[in-house]
């Protein structure tokens, strides 16, 4: 194949690191290839060090290619780029059209059964993507976990083999983003590291581990340190970096609240040693953002990161609330179940050794629960069968109802950032 291949991610990140620049990246996908190209060009042209994104539509994610075809026939807009249904030549043109910028392009898809998507990527010159057998199965699909593990194993091998054709395959674990919010950090770190080990077992040599900003900056810093330490111990023979996601839960509705939250994510990325940041926009609370809104968010995050990087390093006392120990305990408990990481993950969920709070998937035990405590830290209220310390008796606020408590926890960050801005107690960065 003579197709243009998108650049690898590791060299790009190394260049950015030399300039102490945080690499920023949007979520972005359009059904119309021309609009997709406009989006990619706008991202590469942003005043920031960017990686571009092609987000696929959600029919493609669930493998409903008939629905994609119907939408393409009737002109109904999809919420992403229909990579599998489109002629590979169209995507190859897209890749070729931005090749001169030297910007890597990541495909984001959310699929529990990604083999079709990875095949389409291979045919289109794309070799950077993300997901994982757990992180894209349990929260986002109905696929039985063992089937997802098999499909992901084959997809990883296909991706890894693209190296033979001159591509630089890279796979990011989405494990640090389980359900977006209310999953305590130790489990996020453990799942991300375990998926990294799964990727390695299936031939990948360049990976990233994700972590999503949660409810408290100090807790998140501790989690990122734990992730660095575990990855350093367990993945030292690979190229790896950490990617931070700006808050993925219910987003502030005020513009300045949304920007403050994004700014705090950029600061966290710099202080926590993440090489890459996935941004969110102030439009997020209401709808899918436009190209311009994405570019503005990228530039804003990059500017904050630059300012933070020039400033003082973190000097405050480091907190150890036990995230590293918990994450290491979980990883080791899972690896003890079977020498094959995929089999081990299946057994771990079947026996409740891993148990994602509030996850409705039938293969998740569903016995763990979490809450946001009075100081804003995300805590376990129940650990189910996980080998973790039993939480102290819940000290939840006196509450009216379970639904009210859940809604309060889900909207904790939104309320905090919106309130701070409404009362103007915190100076806005814009």
């Amino acid at each position: 194949m003579t197709a243009t291949v998108t650049p690898g991610i590791d060299g790009f990140l190394a260049e950015a690191a030399k300039r102490a620049a945080l690499v920023v990246q949007p979520r972005m996908g359009f059904s119309d290839p021309n609009q997709m190209l406009r989006g990619l060009l706008a991202v590469t042209g942003a005043n920031a060090c960017t990686i571009a994104t092609i987000t696929l539509d959600s029919y493609t994610r669930v493998g409903d290619y008939a629905a994609v075809a119907e939408a393409m026939r009737t002109g109904m807009p999809l919420n992403g780029y229909p990579l599998v249904n489109l002629d590979p030549a169209v995507t190859r043109e897209l890749v070729a059209a931005i090749a001169h910028t030297g910007t890597p392009v990541q495909v984001r898809h959310g699929s529990g059964l990604p083999l079709d998507i990875f095949q389409a990527m291979a045919g289109s010159g794309l070799a950077v993507t993300e997901g994982g057998p757990v992180s894209y199965c349990l929260p986002y699909s109905r696929v039985p976990l063992p089937l997802a593990v098999d499909d992901w194993a084959r997809a990883c091998e296909l991706l890894a083999n693209l190296a033979d054709q001159g591509a630089r395959p890279h796979l990011e674990s989405f494990g640090g983003c389980m359900l977006g919010q209310l999953c305590p950090p130790s489990l996020l770190v453990a799942i991300s590291v375990l998926e990294g080990l799964f990727f390695r077992q299936h031939g990948l040599r360049s990976i990233s581990l994700s972590y999503a900003q949660q409810t408290d900056r100090r807790q998140d810093l501790e989690a990122l340190r734990a992730m660095h330490r575990l990855a350093g111990d367990l993945l030292s023979d690979m190229d790896w970096h950490i990617v931070l996601y700006a808050y993925m839960g219910v987003y502030p509705r005020t513009r300045s609240g949304a920007l403050d939250l994004l700014g705090d994510a950029a600061e966290l990325a710099v202080h926590g040693g993440a090489a890459r940041l996935i941004v969110k926009t102030p439009a997020e609370a209401f709808r899918i953002p436009t190209i311009e809104e994405n570019v503005a968010a990228l530039e804003y995050a990059a500017a904050v990161a630059e300012e933070v990087a020039r400033g003082e390093p973190v000097t405050e006392r480091l907190i150890d609330s036990g995230i590293h120990n918990e994450a290491r305990t979980l990883v080791e408990a899972v690896l003890d179940l079977h020498p094959d990481v995929g089999q081990a993950l299946c057994r771990a969920f079947a026996t409740g050794v891993l148990d994602v709070p509030y996850c409705l998937h039938p293969d998740n035990a569903g016995r763990s629960r979490s809450y946001v405590d009075a100081s804003g830290w995300l805590r376990w209220s129940r650990v189910g069968g996980m080998p973790l310390p039993r939480p102290a008796p819940e000290s939840l606020r006196a509450s009216g109802s379970a639904s009210g408590d859940l809604l309060a926890a889900l909207s904790y960050v939104e309320r905090r950032y919106d309130r701070e801005n409404e009362s103007a107690r915190k100076p806005s960065r814009d």
Partner: protein, 155 residues
Amino acid sequence: MHPHVRRHLLGDLRRVLLSSVSSDAHTWNLVYLQLLIEELGPEVVNLGACVPDALLISEALRVQPDLIVLSTVNGHGYGDGKRVITALRAHRALRDLPVVIGGKLGVGGPISDTQTDDLLAAGFDAVFGDDAAPESFRRFLDRLVPSPTGGECVP
């Protein structure tokens, strides 16, 4: 509303089938709605994320709920919702079953009044936008079972 009054009002609403639509992977909306509906009394069967049309229909026939609640936030709700309600209403046993949909229903923000009317014409009994407060959903549930006095019972 006092719990026993609510139980009385919703006495005939015993079982609710709660579901996403085929292309939507979001679940917090479903986790929350399950708690909200359970607190009003009915038992909830929660089908979770990415429910194919055929599964929703087979579960509706099996579970025989008193109400189906579809909740979706990925922007495909208008298309997915219209398709699934049309398929669902084609089953004689499901023709008169109350079915509602709510959430972020359009790719470009809230759907238009015409699109809302489309969904109602296709067979939904109510359409709730993203900005609908929990109270409006509760009021809808209250209306499903008329109170003995015929009036709405609000504290």
